[in-house]
Amino acid sequence: MADERDPLHVAGEVLATRKAGAYRLLTIAAPGIPQRFRAGNFVAVSVQGGRLARRSLWIHRVKEAGAFGPTLDVVVHPTGPGTTWLAGLPVGAAIEVTGPLGRPFALPREPVACVLVGEGHGAAPMFPLAERLRERGCAVSLVVSAPDESRLLSALEARRSARSVTVITGDGSVGVRGDVAGEIHGVLERTDADVVYAAGSHATLRAVAAAAEQRGAWSQVGLETPLPCGTGLCHGCPVPVISEDGVSRLVRACVDGPVVRGDRVDWEALA
């Protein structure tokens, strides 16, 4: 039953690694995965040494060329044992990767005005999304935010795909001092957005979804809830969503998400 859209589990290799502020950017050879990528997909990687849960990472970029065939980039924020291990991997290290996983961002049929919000490493999937949207003729405005400059994913390259870029930091070290929740209304207003895409903390996504709803815009949010397996096997990643009929039920964040409609999330129950 496997088809071309199905994820793969491959023995990958770290091809390059570089520091980007508080993050580490890894370029990984993961045969077959880049070819199937759509913006909003993630990969699940295995950590060594008796750690059984997978670690999920947004696919940040797919490079077509290269001696190794297509490769993928991920942005690693070392916060716990798994991400610290990942960030420390040397070039040449073997790494088990499963992907691309999850529902990607849904693209609008029409060339509408889009706002893309990336908080912290949540900006990672916004860059390839911006490119796809621009290819479709959408007007793309990018919002990147972080507590401080070191956790701000460089928006330099995104400027090519985006009409405008808004930078927000908690400490005001670059761009606007503040947070997404405080700025999002103004951005939506200015850009006259029809669609809002966002990835980041639950609180930020909730604020974005609410602002979009208020304006009558459509929102798609990429949730970061713990994904023990990432592949849909364990039922360990429940997200409460409200169906058309008003009933809240649980879906799996890894296969029914991580990207979901912002107006459908039962934010109260998600907590």
């Binding site: 199905d6 008796g50 713990p226 592949t231 849909g232 360990g236 990643c237």
Partner: protein
Amino acid sequence: MSASTDAGRGFGPVMVASGCGGTGRELAAFADLAGLDFVTRSITLDPRRGGPSPRIAETPSGLVNAVGLDNPGLEHFLATELPLLVRAGARVFVSVAGATLGEYADLARRLSRAPGVGGLEVNLGAPDQVGQGLFEVREPFHAASVVAAVRREFPADLPVLAKLRPDLTRVVEGARGVLDAGATAVVIGNAVPASMPDGRPAGLTGPAIMPVALRCLAEVTAELGPVPLIGAGGITDAADARRFLDLGAMAVQIGTALLHDPTTVTRVRAALTREETR
């Protein structure tokens, strides 16, 4: 022992453990479902929402889970999940869990009429049986009565597996009881009762518990002689599987390893087949 070994012919040697293969659809990307022995997550009569998040946490070489029997209920399962598995050619063992003997009987009766069901697995060892409102199987005779109730309602030519917890002080009596009650084979074992980091009841699975499951299997074989057993607990590769098979297990189940590497069942099946044909 009234084990109807006929019904058990052709299991395994590698099965997907309950609760670790998703709905089957997701596993299809990593394993050929055709001919695969697939145990569903435990299905109850009514839908269950399962426990709150986080449901699964990492422990050294293990996972603790408090998934809490999240499942869509029998009707929805029959309508939306079973058909895909059957179409794909899997041998589907529906894992059943109930609050009363009547519920177990009901589940068995209704599943006996569902086209394509390959067998049942009776979940008799959820790590928090009582907290989850399941039939209390503290004493071995409770487990036996559940199996008897299920067996009565389910076609005699289809296997009924009885899944026990790897609890050394009860597993021998438990196995004897469920086999006498008509179980085709005994699955040893389930998760070991444990705590989530925040203290909620949970079940420990994965490589951490393998020596515990092996001991229970060995003890049952030592006490009851060669009876149909299926081993589970921490299997990650063919060598692990071989340890259970060498102790007399007719098949093994793989759970946690699939969450870490969804190709595990495929790999282990292939490796065991290679070994056999060598």
